[in-house]
Subunit: 431 residues, 2 copies
């Protein structure tokens, strides 16, 4: 028996730095630098790149080189890469694999995108419930080389149905004659191949698991989703959430400098156009009140402050509720309690600003304007907080990712209604 180089440790500090440098290059330079690498360094660096960057490299490299790189990837990483390249290229790449590798990869591709089936590793070492710890250890020694992990060992019956989970740690620490069934936890969390990848990743995170078994509808073992896949999924999902929450940007899915300026423009312009279209509502509202504005020009001075504050209140509520939904603290059915809480929050915030603002504006402008602005602050803060709290839940109920109903969208929607509130109050008090 030869001692195999440990895959996990092969990714040394140096190869990490190398990959980081490669990821920062523009696509053309990356292919040039990549060609200079030795076989092992190339395989490690390729593995660490994101699938879109891998796809670009595949385009730029010769097919011998590509075959070497593809063969070195784990089946789940390969499935993700094949999603990125054009269908023709994917077929050619699959054809170059050994039958076993091809079968495993194609199998993963049969599950829906972003499902547990896509990110699971089919290379699992499983044990039988009837084995002893000693027999299990012998099996690990004989068959453990190809398994992605030995630290979560599923236990199954003769029909490949999952009975529970044990670990290399328990097998090693147990008395040799102990039965695997005694070392097994039958209540270990299990997921379906059709479960959403983010849900699976959050389960791994919350339950501190190293891996979770994936089963089919008959509870037969299909593979394992490991913690490193969970980390990658969560980074992608969180990057998406941050991008949408912060600016309504589509996430770049690749390091900043490796994305062309044109692609950055494209990642931003769709949202911006949508937001500008929504913002034309504010022009319409203000046109309707043009006569009022002509009479009391001072009203226009507070427009940015009022809609800005309303927008910020709404954005805060939307961000809080969207995140609470994502991590599972709030559910769609909680809508009434969320609204009850957010109305109170909005009223308190609005009251504070109204009470502080009233004397200040009275001194600097006049009492009537101070009344209008203070009352508008109170009403706008309450309304915006309510809308911001409601929209993510409404989106979620309608089957839309709540992160899409992000802060900028809430802000823009609240702008127009905030102006209606402001001029409504102004007309009652001033005219």
């Amino acid at each position: 028996m030869e001692v195999e180089a440990p895959t996990e440790e092969m990714r040394t500090a140096e190869s990490l730095a190398l990959t980081e440098e490669l990821a920062r290059l523009e696509p053309e330079d990356r292919a040039v630098e990549f060609r200079k690498l030795g076989k092992d360094a190339a395989a490690m660096a390729f593995d660490a790149l994101d699938p879109p960057q891998q796809a670009e490299l595949v385009d730029a490299l010769t097919s011998d080189r590509v075959r070497e790189l593809i063969t070195e990837l784990d089946p789940d990483d390969r499935a993700r890469l094949l999603d990125e390249v054009p269908a023709g290229v994917a077929r050619r790449l699959l054809a170059q694999l050994s039958p076993r590798e091809r079968w495993m990869t194609a199998d993963l591709l049969g599950y829906p995108p972003e499902s547990a089936g896509r990110i699971m590793s089919p290379e699992v070492l499983s044990l039988h419930a009837g084995q002893s710890a000693e027999e299990a250890l012998t099996r690990v020694r004989a068959r453990g080389r190809d398994a992605e992990t030995l630290y979560v060992l599923p236990v199954r019956d003769r029909q490949r149905r999952l009975l529970g989970v044990t670990s290399l740690r328990d097998i090693v620490l147990a008395e040799p004659e102990t039965g695997v069934s005694e070392l097994m936890n039958a209540d270990h969390p299990v997921v379906s191949a059709y479960d959403d990848q983010e849900k699976v990743a959050r389960l791994i995170q919350e339950a501190d698991l190293l891996a979770v078994p994936v089963v089919d509808r008959e509870h037969r073992l299909l593979g394992l989703v490991t913690v490193d896949d969970a980390l990658e999924v969560l980074e992608i999902e969180d990057t998406e959430d941050i991008a949408r929450a912060g600016g309504g940007v589509e996430p770049l899915r690749a390091p900043y400098f490796s994305v062309s300026v044109q692609k950055i423009v494209r990642s931003r312009i769709v949202w911006l156009t949508l937001l500008i279209a929504a913002a034309t509502l504010t022009v319409t509202v203000l046109s309707a009140f043009e006569a009022t504005l002509e009479q009391v020009v001072t009203l226009s001075l507070f427009i940015p402050l009022l809609i800005g504050t309303g927008g910020n209140c709404g954005a805060q509520a939307a961000t809080t509720i969207t995140r609470a939904l994502a991590v599972g603290d709030v559910r769609i059915a909680d809508l009434p309690s969320v609204l009850a809480r957010e109305v109170r929050v909005g009223l308190m915030l609005g009251a504070v600003f109204a009470i502080v603002g009233f004397p200040l504006i009275t001194v600097l402008f006049d009492r009537d304007i101070a009344e209008v602005v203070s009352l508008s602050l109170l009403a706008t803060c309450t309304w915006a907080t309510l809308v911001g709290g409601m929209l993510p839940l409404a989106a979620s109920r309608a089957g839309i990712d709540p992160a899409v109903v992000s802060a900028p969208l809430v802000t823009t929607l609240v702008d127009a209604t905030g102006l209606l509130i402001y001029f409504g109050i102004a007309q009652v008090i001033l005219i």
Copy 2:
């Protein structure tokens, strides 16, 4: 040798659901529900709660019950809890621990908050370079029960200096007579106890590690940061980033429903007040142009649209660059290249909106207003994108967390300068 219950698997699907339910309760109800739990269920549920919630429970429970719960925690989780309770309570809790447990916990508390030293597990099983795989396995069997993980096994010399890392997998799969030094990866990433916890967590994520050894200045082994700690750190950091990016909210650090309305108001009001203070700048700018507004009231109709678009452009750039900084794709020294790219992005975005907007506004209003608004869109988009790209890098250089210079702050700052640009252009063209 007794077979110990496997810690990792003890957290079953049921206990997860239980903890989730507990976390959703208001603090007072939680203590009531908690008292009803059996000893094991209580220990598991307590472990899974966030430190602030643990601290509240400690207040509400009797001290016998508390001692049981504290003893069951890992030293690193205990250190985090002790940070949350008042100093007097922390001293009392420490006094109740066994000398060994107390020593380990107090040791962790000596490192700065948010450092690797705080989150590392000091219960490490290490091997000697001179051992064989068989001797190593014997050592694992004899001493492995208390170690937090056996899957990353640091290898050290007689002075406790770290030489490299191996794993239970490699030890088990190797021929018995193979030396540990042959199974060891000397280039495995290592961190200092004073390194920032987010940096360490990102290293674990990027290098797909199960744990990373922590050393002191003399390269002596102090402990391990494990992947589950990394997942927790990244969730906290990402929640913080999302909160700040989306709404300028301080993250709640506990499930939404377990936080009182007063605390939610407090988490939002500081930022809102700061943003309102910044927004008074817009009142000042508009006051300066009050005469222009009186002459051309139509100008005020486009104020929300213009500053909204500028704000969104700035927010997008800030969000993109802040995230790129957080994940290490962009560094402070990249400032010139970032600005060069963002100016081009801003110009392209502004040009598109100006070209589309000009004929529309000409038809709906008049040609002069269309000129003013289109030119302002071009200038504001460019300026906002530039400022949004620059501020996170400037903050980072000044030693401020770039996430603080978040989308809402950029938006508010850009509002006032956007108005200056708008009225500057208006005065040249219209008056």
